[in-house]
Amino acid sequence: MRIGVFVCWCGSNIAKTVDVAAVAEAARDMPGVVYSTDYKYMCSEPGQNMVKDAIKEHRLDRVVIASCSPRLHEPTFQRCIADGGLNAYMVEMANLREHCSWVHEKTPETTEKAIHLVRMAVAKVTKNDPLQRNEIPLGRRALVIGGGIAGIQAALDIADAGYPVVLVERTPSIGGHMAQYDKTFPTLDCAACILTPKMVDCASHPLIDIWSYSEVEEVKGFVGNFEVKIRKRAKSIIDEKCTGCGECLEKCPVKGIPSEFDENMGTRRAIYRPFPQAVPNKPVIDRLNCRKFLEDKCGVCAKICPTGAIDYAQEDEVLTEKFGGIVVATGFGLWNHSVMGEYGYGKYPDVISAIQFERIMNASGPTDGHIVRPSDGKTPKAIAFLSCVGSRDQEHGHAYCSKVCCMYNAKQALLVRDKLHDVETYVFYMDIRANGKGYEEFVQRTIEDFGANYIRGRVSKIYPDNGQMVIKGADTLLGKAVEVRVDLVVLATAMQPQNDAKDLARMLGISTDQYNWFSEAHPKLKPVEVLTDGIYLAGACQYPKDIPDTVAQASAAASKVIGLFSKKAILSEPMIANINEDTCAGCGLCVNVCPYGAIELIEVMDKEKSTRENKVMKSVANVNEGVCKGCGTCAAACRSLSANLRGFEGKQILAEIDALADMVKGRK
């Protein structure tokens, strides 16, 4: 046994409080250690070269690096000693920084503790076994969940790189929220004009399958090997036969169903497509409202369909498909302001949400783009826009800023003045957050060139009076209470996670924050990854984002998938659990405690009881190497010590504890 110990200063991070030279000196006398030294930055290139050279020069077979947390640099030094000719797993880290120098004062005891930590690492590395990484299969086909602009962009990027993609969308058409918008800030491009070409690209791309009206129901497996159960809901339309001519849409007698796409500002029929540019451009039948399904009457659409594409007997189809990587792009929901009594509990028809106003402004919307108010269809003479309705408001459960409202408030206030020259606009705001390219300039344009009255303060109450809405609020710049009479009030309601975000997170095994936004693996350095390999986030399912940020993140997620798929093979992590089948009693306790579902019971031959003539089977635990994360829960739970965590085996841990006990005893 020839162990080398390398003590790092970490600049002054460790050396300021720990006497690193004394630690290296003490290490020299530890059992098995043949070489020890200290250096300013072990992780630097010269530092790593020192390790490699020492392996050769002193014929080291094991290495201890006394520096920072293994979470930071264990992979660095595993690579380093592998380059130096050792098995990568013959290195142990003693964490002198997070566990010692950062948390203690400069005292002799601090250096003593550092020596204890090194001694324990030396004891552990003595018991290390060489480990191997195995290749695991990699399916090069991607699943994108959610067909908004994030999912569309990710699907296009992945498919353009040459990999097949299934784009699953819950509603009858892809397009998401962006398809509902009128124009986009700060350039005022028409949202449909820039979105629909991408939707069409998706539809015509030979490597993209769009599964609309479909939902993910179950996700199993692991990176490179996901098995996903997807329900394709019955559209009651035979896809291959339907030409999208739209004759059925004209004749369906069930009218007046509030249109989801128009945010209840308009209506649709029982057979419908959400909007004229829908992709796929084929209708679906809403069975909850269709007379054929409710009363077994009507059947008009089947009678007039020239291609016989209507199929009332169609059933949901549940498919289990394999994917190598998953992009989650499920977007956001909007908070319903009807819990706000001070704004009328959602009962005043002329107090609407900003997305409803988008539909009113949109030329293909329920009013053909004429700005009228819902109560009486009259053109408003004064409109108020209220920002932060539910956002930055702990009382209503969203302490965060919804990020895009300041900009769309400004956009809507500008567009309204552009269409109706004699309308007065008021924007009540807390702060104007316009921190994007061209954003601040845009807000100033709304104020200066389009005459919007910006009032800094919140609105305490809205009530109807003489056919108008009275807004009572504060102008905190004037320090006065203000009252404004308007014809229409537009609320910038908080963006929030989809109602079922938590369910999807559970299905995918990814984590969420306190609001149910999906959590990225690292807030700064891993913004599109999650803690489960092979799953990536795109768009507002993670946190409120505007379109440019969403598109950028979608492309980032796609590039992660492309990066994964372009690998020759993926390697398993060897520091995972394994089961000693000879001693395993098949009790199944580990199956129950495993947080990743990585363990199952299998039948194997009982070697003890079997004879050549008579095979006896027994059930034992078995670890799926692709799924196991090496958390060690099974090893802790196992009553017969049959579950072991490679790299953290009982003999290694006990060696550490024994070493520490000896050191403490010696001190007395």
Binding site: M340, G341, E342, Y345, K461, Y463, P464, D465
Partner: protein, 294 residues
């Protein structure tokens, strides 16, 4: 039901008719109100502006005495109710403060009882059922604007017996006795409260807004559960009318007076005599066909 009754300063002075009607209605529907002996000021408004500990300690003494009586407290005045309920919630949550204050009290408050508003106690479904049984004359034709003011229902996390933005308990009580409460939008606005004396111009403006909105929506009276609201609405309506150039003459009642009137409780009519604004215009609006039940 037996409650420890906390009158506070208003109900023994400017709001005597609230006290009398509360007692009369309580007797009629079997809510027994036992006076808290040797009660002290609830701490509104001075104490809680100046000294937080004192603002909790003053109600704590009353709560301690009431706890000794073994009954929940009823405080009809909205300000008393607000202060005492706030103190109760804080003392129940903050054991350290409670121990500290209890060290100064003869009768400690351990958190065994609770504070309620008389509106809360008189508008439970059981109480309203008793009222309903006792009605002798429905108040048909009376169109009250139910006015809760600001203190009775806010902050909702502390008080929370009714909806803070569109409270309903007064409306329900008025419907029970056959009156027809109007839909209006100033139910929970501030009347100016204790600015009534120090900054009356604010109160005049606010009272004007409130009465004007009530009138616009067809009310022929306002009904309240707060002595401060009553004082401001009655005392400042003439000045408010002058300010707005409108006739803002509007009778104002305590809800208990109208409950008592509907039940024809003996002695209730005496209460009307102490009002600053003549209530007869409202009483005359009650149609004859109401007088029938029972």
């Amino acid at each position: 039901m037996k409650y420890a009754y906390f009158p506070g300063c208003s109900l023994e002075s400017t709001a005597k008719e609230f006290q009398e009607s509360t007692q009369l209605v309580g007797d009629a529907i079997g809510v027994e109100l036992v006076h808290i002996d040797d009660w002290n000021c609830c701490g509104a408004t001075s104490a809680h502006n100046l000294d937080h500990r004192l603002s909790v300690a003053l109600p704590a003494r009353n709560l301690g005495i009431a706890e000794g009586m073994g009954m929940d407290v009823v405080a009809p005045c909205a300000a008393c109710y607000n202060r005492m309920r706030s103190a109760e919630v804080e003392l129940k949550a903050n054991v350290k403060l409670r121990d500290d204050i209890n060290a100064d009290l003869e009768k400690p408050f351990t958190g065994a009882i609770s504070v309620k508003s008389s509106l809360e106690v008189f508008t439970t479904s059981e109480a309203l059922a008793k009222v309903s049984d006792g009605i002798r004359k429905k108040l048909t034709g009376l169109k009250p604007a139910c006015y809760y003011g600001c203190l009775l229902v806010r902050p909702p996390k502390v008080l929370g017996f009714d909806d803070p933005e569109n409270p309903q308990s007064l409306d329900k009580a008025m419907e029970t006795i056959g009156a027809e409460p109007v839909e209006w939008y100033f139910k929970n606005e501030c009347c100016g409260a204790s600015f009534g004396l120090s900054k009356s111009e604010i109160v005049v403006k606010l009272v004007g807004d409130i009465i004007s909105n009530a009138k616009k929506h067809g009310a022929n009276c306002i009904v309240t559960a707060c002595p401060l609201c009553m004082t401001n609405l009655e005392m400042r309506q003439a000045a408010a009318g002058k300010l707005r150039g409108e006739d803002l003459t509007m009778p104002v009642f305590y809800f208990t007076e109208l409950m008592g009137l509907a039940m024809e409780v003996r002695g209730i009519k005496k209460c009307f005599a102490s009002h600053l604004v003549d209530v007869n215009s409202a009483l005359d609006a009650i149609t004859a066909d109401g007088a029938m039940v029972g």
